[in-house]
Structure formats: C-alpha cells, structure tokens
Amino acid sequence: MQELEKAGVGSVRVTRKSDKVVVIEKDLVTEEMLLAMGPQHPSTHGVLKLECLTDGEVITQAEPYLGYLHRCFEKHCENVDYPAIVPYTDRMDYLAGMNSEMAYCIAVEKLMDVEIPRRVEFIRVIVAELNRIASHLVAIGTFGIDLGAFTPFLFCFRDREHILSLLEWASGARMLYNYIWIGGLAYDVPADFNKRVREFVDYFRPQTVELFRLLTENEIFVKRTKGIGIMPADVAINYGWSGPMLRGSGVKWDLRRNDPYSIYPELQFDVPVPDGKFSDVGDCLSRHLVRALEMEESLKIIEQCIDKMPSSEGFNSRSAIPKRIRPKAGEVYARAENPRGELGFYIQSDGKSTKPVRCHARSSCFVNLSAMKDLSKGQLLPDLVAIIGSIDIVLGEIDR
C-alpha cells in the first residue's frame, strides 16, 4: 500500500484493471533538486535569493531569502534629523528616488501641517512623473532581458538617459537626488527646464510606440508572458499588492486618484487597467501592459503641469521650509504612488526631538514580493524568471 500512497507524488501511476488486478506503473524516479537561484543571478535583479525545489524544469517550491542589501534604513532614521532622512529614501528605491523623497516629505509635512507653495507642488509632480517614466523604462527593459530580448533594454536605457539628464540638470545628481525637501525643494528648476521637458515629451511619445511594437506586440514575448503567473484580484488585495501589480490584476486603484495628494486632483489622467482582450487579467503581460500604458499617462500629467505651473517670479523654493523641523507629537502614515506601488511612511514623533522616534517604510516591492512563494508554485524555470521580472523588484527597497 505504500506504493499507492506514493501515487500522489506523480512518478507512480496506479490503475485498477479489474477487482483483482491492479497495475502499478513507475516512471523514472525523479528526485527534487535544491537550486539556489541567487543572490548572484542575472535575473534576480540584484541580490535576491530564491531557494527553489525543482523537479526537472518545474519549480515545486520557491522560497525567497532577503536581506543581502539591508542597510538599516529604519535604524539610521532614529539617529538623524528629519531632513537628513531624505537622502536615505533615495537609496531605498534607487530607480525612483524622486518618488521616494516625495512620499517621505508628504508624510513629514502632514505631521507638521506646512503650507507648500504651488510652484513647488508642480515641480515635484513633474520630477516625480519623469522619474516614474524612467523607472518604468528600466522595468520594461529588464523584463525584456529576462525573456531574452536584449535590444529593447538598450532602447529603454537610451530614453531613460534623457530623463536622467533632465533630473541631473534640476538637482545636480543622476540617481540619488536629495532634491525634494521637507516643505520645499533644494532649488528651483533651471530657467529653460520646462522647454526641455516639453521637448523630451515630444521626443518620447513616438518612442513608446516603437517600444510597443518591438516588445509588447512581439509574438514570442506575448507567448512567454500571457497567462503566466496569474494573480486574481481578491488575492492580490489580500497580499497587499499595490501599484501596477494590483492594476494588472484588474483593480482600478491608484493612490493618485483614490487617495489624492499634492496637485493630482487637478490633473486629468487615466488609470490604465487591462481589459482582458490582449492579455489574461492578472498575468505577467497585464502587469507589463499597465507599465507601458502608464508612461503615456505620465507624459500627459507632465504636459498639464508645464501648462499650469505658476511662474518663477518672486519664487523661493525654500521659503516654506521650516527653520527647525520638529513636528508636534503624534504619528502619521502617509503614502504616495510610486512606480512600484504604494510607498508608505509611518512616522512617530514625540514632539520634543528633531529626530523621529520611529520611521518605518512600507516598501511596495517588499509586499509585492511576498506573494512570490504562491506565484511560483508549479511554474517552469523560465516562467519563474518572467514572474520575477514582472514583479519589478528593486532590492534596495525590499531590504532597505
């Protein structure tokens, strides 16, 4: 009977020919192999380690191990002043530094109740949306690389380069900006910034179409991603997914719309959600599509911001920055829509110190990745790579 019990394993088949005759067929006895994918592996996007139990090419279980890039963000926060935390937030999600800074500054400003000049808000939104495009370009490019398409990656990086140059022009740094400060900005944007941004928008629109045709509509690409790693909407919410991941599962949830902050309520933009025609809702292709379509929406937002932006006359980007940043006692949880989802900051202040008692970052990738174990069960090894790519992880944000 032990043989019968093993039948569930898959390598043994039991068929009942008649009452007396039972045929037991044995396949090749396969052993599960422990495969350590990472921390140095090209498609784990940094230093994620996945311990996979594999039966041939099939992953029976994949357990993520984190912490290889843990830089004690929260411990640092207890030891530095509020403004000094801003550069640390850059280093969390290093592909979307502006968005991380913005989320953190919103949290502290909410605790302090400061009035932000309108021009500052517009500039913040422009740089954040530019950074969102840059981040999505990396996400799409690396997703392509995971599936073996190398050229789209370089196309993406070529366009991202323009954005980085723009942001460098504004802030002086290419990735780790320290540009958005609590209550203001480090500097006003350069005089011709809006003109150049508009030039970039005009340049970039056709490029998104090209990228769409090169990658998204590619037959092999669609074959590799459609129907892979499907996440139903309710499970996605239960897993705390946010951002493009959640929208990929068909939930129209965008913090810029549903929990508006800054000047987003004044702007017109869509929240793209897959309709299930081109992709199966919730699969890797849907998540990719959401990112690809979101870039277009970001361009729209940037254009509107440039049109509506107040002039720089008599504007001082640091005018609203409090002399001494010491919020009143209390706690706040504020979040912003990052390229990878909801980046939230829980900040607790005791009202006496210029350092937060507790500053916790709710990292979007960290939460998105927690579904990895469920998503990867029973997938093929190449599909596992596609799933990791579609989650679009940045280890800097996961490990903090």
């Binding site: 207890e78 605790l111 897993y239 705390g240 706690e331 829980y346 709710r362 990745l369 927690s370």
Partner: protein, 172 residues
C-alpha cells in the same frame, strides 16, 4: 475629539468604522483616538486580535480587505512592544483605520493575522526581526532581513550591537 473642532470627512468615516467594531467587541478596544494624521484604536485584549481582524475584514460595513502597513513599535516606558496596522478597504469603502496591538516587552507575543491578510506574513516577520515579539500562529516565524543568527533585535530602544559577527567586527 475636541468639541467644536471641524472634523474632516475621512476622520468621520474612520470614527464610524470604529463604532461598528466597538459595538461588537466593546471593552476589548480602547477609545477611538481621532487625530487628523492617523486615527487609530488600540486592541486592549490582544487574544481577541484575530477575531477582530476577521470581523474587520468580513463585516459588510467594514470590509477592510487591504492591510497597507504593519509597523513594529517599542514602548520602553510602558515596558511593551507593539504593532500598528493601517487598514483600508480597496474598491468598497473609502474609510481608513489604524489598529495598535501591544504585548509584553520580554517574551511577549501577539496573535498572527497572516491567516487573515497574507500580506501580514512578511510584515510580521519583519516586525519580529526588528523587535523580537513573537506572532503566535504565524506559519513561518523566522527573521527576514537580518541573518538568522544575528543577536538581539536592532530597533529596540535599548539595543546594543554585538561586538563580532562570525569573526567580523560589527561596530565601525
């Protein structure tokens, strides 16, 4: 809430949601702290935490289906550790609410809600990693960011960093 103060709409919604939970669990909850930045209540009887969580998730008027954030906290003065969870209801209701749960500082434990919200799984592991409170009923209670053999819990206010780790000098 102070009398006569203008209360924002989101705060009213949170207060209404609290009222529904309070109706059922009564004294197990503290009074509602209606501050503008993060309205919350505290679960005084931690053993009821899973029941409250399920109630919050499934009650037709609450439907807190989304746990946005779970943060570990240290209260050295009260000799306690705690967590604060931020909830909201995606696509159903606009209300938001935060919940605090506390436990004893040494050897304390909090019931795990990983069975209610999957997202709590890793976030509770992170809180355990940093503060050392145990989550009973958690499917996989291990450290997540620090190495498994790290000594102490780094975010406790009285944390002393270990001298060496596998022969490597730790404090720089």
């Amino acid at each position: 809430m102070e009398e006569g103060k203008v209360v924002s709409r989101s705060l009213q919604q949170s207060a209404a949601a609290y009222a529904v939970i309070h109706e059922k669990f009564g004294d197990a909850l503290s009074a509602f702290d209606g501050n503008e930045t993060m309205p919350f209540f505290e679960v005084l009887d931690a053993s009821l935490w899973v029941d409250i969580a399920l109630y919050m998730r499934d009650h037709p008027k609450l439907k807190f289906n989304y746990m946005a954030c779970l943060t570990g906290l240290d209260y050295p003065l009260e000799e306690k550790l705690g967590i604060v969870c931020n909830f909201e209801s995606i696509g159903i209701f606009p209300h938001k609410l935060a919940v605090k749960v506390k436990c004893a500082r040494e050897g304390g434990s909090i019931p795990s809600v990983a069975c209610v919200w999957h997202t709590a799984n890793w976030q509770e592991r992170e809180a355990y990693d940093m503060y050392g409170m145990l989550f009973t009923g958690h499917p996989d209670m291990r450290r997540i960011l620090c190495p498994d053999d790290w000594e102490g819990f780094p975010l406790r206010k009285d944390y002393k960093v270990q001298e060496t780790y596998h022969g490597i000098k730790v404090p720089y």
